[in-house]
């Protein structure tokens, strides 16, 4: 091997090697992160990726999923060209068509359905990834449908609406100044490296860390001053008990409560019932440890809490648990104060938490009709309805099957994977009721066997991106041409708007024109953002000064922080409590037949829902769908490490490998989701939903496990 061959093999950039490094961003996970990527390209192909030094969030590093970007891009299952269904639904029989045919036929059919059945009969849904949401929302409204929905129906939205319910806006913790970090289900040291840094920062300046989790984790082991290991679904009871102790021990801020809090007396009466002894029986945590957690919190105020997007809300009592957790910051005077929880202003996706005015929100809502029909899930989940502007997709299966509140005729599904929903395998029954299904994705997923049109879209490396990080903004160019005949999802929607001739000039103007519109008031251009080596600071900070809401009132019905939710009271629903009361979160299955607790979707580092399972490098780290279970439960069933086992419920069964670990408590079994051959969501009843938020109770349902073949 000569010198040049060696340099090429080592992938060194240079004129001699023909390797260039281009900047892009990773959008495999959620827009709150979107790390910077240095993409090594040779002869028009990506040959390697790494993190961009100095970039917000990742500063040169990549997580295991981000490091897999090259295979995510070039993996085998990529959809290559538009296809039209030729056989019966589910047969997988398709023929290749041109984009021209696809646009002509889809737009004609959508317009016909609107004419015959009304715009609301068309559902516009998106799963992963999330960057395209502004365009999907926009086209749904321009078309006239209220049924815009996203996978946020099971992601961070329940957490966010709990914050909105109490404070009027979503808060984030002021980690730089907080005295104590309460991590509920937080395993940041394992799966969120950007936050692991924050934990180290809190530690180094003498702050305290309390971790509440059902499992022992690197975070609980390395960072926790107090670690409470509790049974799944009991966080709410624990939070009420800590509230009780904070009151009794005099850690609360009475002046603050008098001035800014609504419903304290009723809250106090509620929490009084949650004594350490009683809550110890519910949660499994020792009474002394609960007292210690309350002391550590009370003596190190202000406190902030961190709850990952899904860990708490994935229980059918999760919404109230979230409110009980937030209430602790309320009664200790920790909202809208330095070192506490700060109210945020932006719900943006492209320009999430951007800190300066963009036109993204105007774009999202600019064509929203004044009168819209009821959304899917609107009546069933009134809190969801009151605090979000989208349908509750967890109710989609029922709504289509029961034609409630109306018949549905078409589904435009961008990156939808029904495996995220409970009883996923029942979706084909609902698909049969639809006249038109259009599915776009990077790779083939289950819905692609049922869709009438299957269309290929591209990854973040193959398109222009615009992205905000705090007060920094960036744009990237495509680092390689879109593969095969794929297009970017937003361009697809823009072209669809043109073909249907919707009354929407911004959508018709196209993707890049829309990006320019977003930033049209800012002193930078798309080109300048693309040319800069790193995201550029854009200083027009619009966030309100600290204490603004204390002075001017919170944007809630009472103008105060609502321990007693007037929004919930106004629903008039007897089954919903304005106070954050606790209730058992199991399903109704027989405890003797199903003595184990199934926690579906507990995270693994190399997975991101279903999206990394077919990426060989990521998959190689845990090649088989595997259940984590405790030695005691394994021994009782004659199960050994690596055995093939069956997890079963009254609803279904999956076959997986067993991994025995003492990380969880006896009785709890943990199974990651999204596997085609072992879809854990098929084991959970479709009605196992939180009555407030509509979120699925993935993390707590009854099951049993047996050795395969017995």
């Amino acid at each position: 091997m000569n010198e040049l061959e060696r340099r090429i093999k080592a992938k060194l950039p240079g004129e001699d090697t023909g390797i260039t490094v281009r900047r892009s961003l990773c959008d495999i996970c959620a827009p709150g992160t979107h790390c910077g990527l240095s993409v090594y390209v040779k002869d028009g192909r990506v040959i390697k990726v790494e993190g961009v030094d100095g970039y917000p969030n990742n500063d040169g590093h990549l997580c295991v999923r981000g490091a897999s970007n090259r295979q995510y891009l070039y993996r085998k299952g990529r959809l290559k060209y538009p296809m039209r269904r030729t056989g019966p639904r589910g047969s997988g029989e398709y023929e290749r068509i041109s984009w021209e045919e696809a646009y002509a036929e889809i737009s004609k059919k959508l317009l016909k359905i609107r004419e015959q059945y009304g715009a609301s009969s068309v559902i516009w849904y998106t799963g992963y990834t999330k960057w395209l949401r502004p365009w999907l929302r926009r086209i749904a409204y321009s078309f006239g449908s209220p049924n815009y929905g996203t996978e946020s129906s099971a992601c961070a939205k329940a957490t966010m609406i709990a914050w909105k319910d109490i404070c009027g806006k979503v808060c984030r913790g002021d980690a730089k100044n907080a005295g104590v970090y309460m991590g509920w289900g937080s395993n940041a040291a394992f799966n969120k490296f950007t936050q692991a840094k924050m934990l180290r920062g809190i530690r180094e300046r003498g702050g305290k860390i309390v971790i509440i989790d059902t499992r022992v984790t690197p975070t609980s082991e390395r960072f926790a001053d107090v670690f409470l290991q509790i049974h799944p679904g009991t966080d709410g009871a624990l939070a009420l008990c800590i509230g009780n102790l904070l009151i009794q021990k005099g850690y609360i801020d009475k002046d603050y409560i008098d001035k800014y809090v609504h419903g304290f007396d009723a809250y106090e009466r509620l929490v009084r019932e949650y004594t350490p002894e009683r809550v110890s029986r519910i949660t499994g945590a020792a009474p002394e440890l609960i007292e210690r957690a309350a002391d550590v919190m009370g003596q190190n105020l202000p406190a902030i809490s961190y709850t990952p997007s899904a860990a708490i809300p994935h229980h059918i009592n999760g919404y109230n648990a979230m409110r009980a957790i937030i209430s602790l910051m309320v009664i200790t005077g920790g909202i809208d104060v330095k070192g506490g929880s700060l109210l945020g202003d932006s719900d943006g996706i492209v320009a999430e938490a951007i800190g300066f005015p963009s036109h993204e929100q105007e774009f999202c809502y600019g064509t929203r009709p004044e009168h819209l029909d009821k959304r899917i899930g609107e009546e069933r989940f009134p809190l969801w309805a009151a605090k979000t502007n989208e349908m509750q997709a967890g109710d989609m299966l029922r709504a289509i099957l029961e034609e409630d509140p109306r018949p549905y005729k078409a589904l435009v599904a961008l990156g939808m994977n029904q495996r995220m929903f409970l009883e996923s395998d029942k979706y084909p029954e609902a698909y049969e009721k639809l006249d038109l299904i259009v599915a776009t994705d990077i790779v083939k997923t289950d819905i692609c066997d049922y869709a009438d049109y299957v269309l290929p879209v591209c990854t973040s490396l193959e398109r222009v991106n615009l992205k905000g990080y705090g007060n920094l903004l960036t744009a990237t160019k495509a680092v390689v041409e879109p593969l095969y005949e794929s297009v970017n999802d937003a361009e697809f929607l823009c072209e669809l708007a043109r073909r249907m001739d919707l009354d929407d000039n911004l959508l018709k103007a196209g993707y890049e024109a829309d990006l320019r519109y977003f930033i049209s008031d800012l002193p930078v251009t798309l080109e300048e953002l693309q040319e800069a080596e790193l995201p550029l600071p854009v200083k027009l900070d619009t966030s309100k000064p600290l204490g603004y809401y204390l002075e001017h009132g919170f944007p809630t019905p009472s103008g105060k922080l609502e321990l007693y939710s007037e929004t919930i009271a106004a629903t008039g629903r007897a089954d919903l409590d304005p106070l954050p009361s606790y209730y058992d979160a199991f399903n109704t299955a027989d405890e003797e037949a199903y003595p184990l607790t199934l926690i579906a979707g507990a995270r693994i580092a190399n997975g991101l829902h279903s999206r990394m399972h077919e990426v060989p490098w990521a998959r190689s780290l845990r090649p088989e769908p595997t259940v984590d279970m405790h030695q005691k439960d394994a021994d009782a069933r004659g199960i050994r490490e690596g055995d093939t086992v069956e997890i079963y419920t009254g609803v279904g069964m999956i076959r997986v490998k067993a991994h025995i670990t003492a990380a969880g408590l006896p009785g709890d079994v943990y199974m990651y989701h999204g596997y085609k051959e072992a879809n854990v969501n098929n084991l959970i009843d479709r009605n196992h939903l939180d009555p407030y938020s509509g979120f699925a109770g993935y993390r707590q349902s009854r099951c049993n496990v047996r050795k395969a073949g017995e």
Binding site: R6, L62, P218, L621
Partner: protein, 171 residues
């Protein structure tokens, strides 16, 4: 300048980012059964009635007095004078696996032709002023590469390099 790889076991969580970065750098074809040069594992052990977890990331340790170099009958393995990494030219490899038998860390692997391949510390990248792929990726600041001087100054706490050197001396 001589370089040293070190893993801070207090920070490693066994996430696998280093391993995938290694696969990306070296075009590891896992679907054809190839294994990465760097592997991660989680060890869970009972200790006095408690459970303890340790997380490690292991590849070629680039030993000072490397047993694989001595074991190879064909002179395929040698030290890079500049970086001190244990590198190789497998043109003359006869696939005898002597290096693999001698290596305490399981670093040598064998390709489809039966010839030895292994982690070369991203030797050419390091010589070009870049970090090894695994070190560059590590999101938890666990895996590092130090120059000898930096290493002496940093005295990395709970580092794996020192432990390994002690073990090697005992052998």
């Amino acid at each position: 300048m001589k370089y040293i790889f070190d893993l801070n076991t207090e920070n490693c969580v066994g996430c696998g980012a280093c391993s995938v970065a290694c696969m990306d750098q070296n075009d590891t074809d896992t679907e054809r059964g190839e294994k990465p040069f760097r592997v991660v594992s989680t060890l869970e052990q009972g200790y006095r009635g408690e459970t303890r977890w340790s997380y490690i990331s292991v590849a070629c340790m680039h030993c000072e007095d490397a047993p694989c170099i001595k074991a190879c009958p064909c002179g395929c393995l040698f030290k890079d004078e500049e970086t001190n990494f244990t590198i190789y030219d497998n043109t003359n490899c006869i696939g005898c696996h002597s290096c693999a038998m001698a290596c305490p860390f399981g670093a040598p692997r064998f390709n489809e032709e039966g010839k030895m391949v292994k982690c070369d510390g991203c030797n050419d990248r390091v010589k070009a002023g870049l970090k090894p792929a695994c070190v560059k990726a590590c999101p938890f600041d666990a895996l590092k590469m130090y120059s000898e001087d930096e290493y002496k100054q940093a005295h990395p706490a709970r580092g794996i390099h020192d432990i390994v050197q002690q073990l090697l001396r005992q052998e």
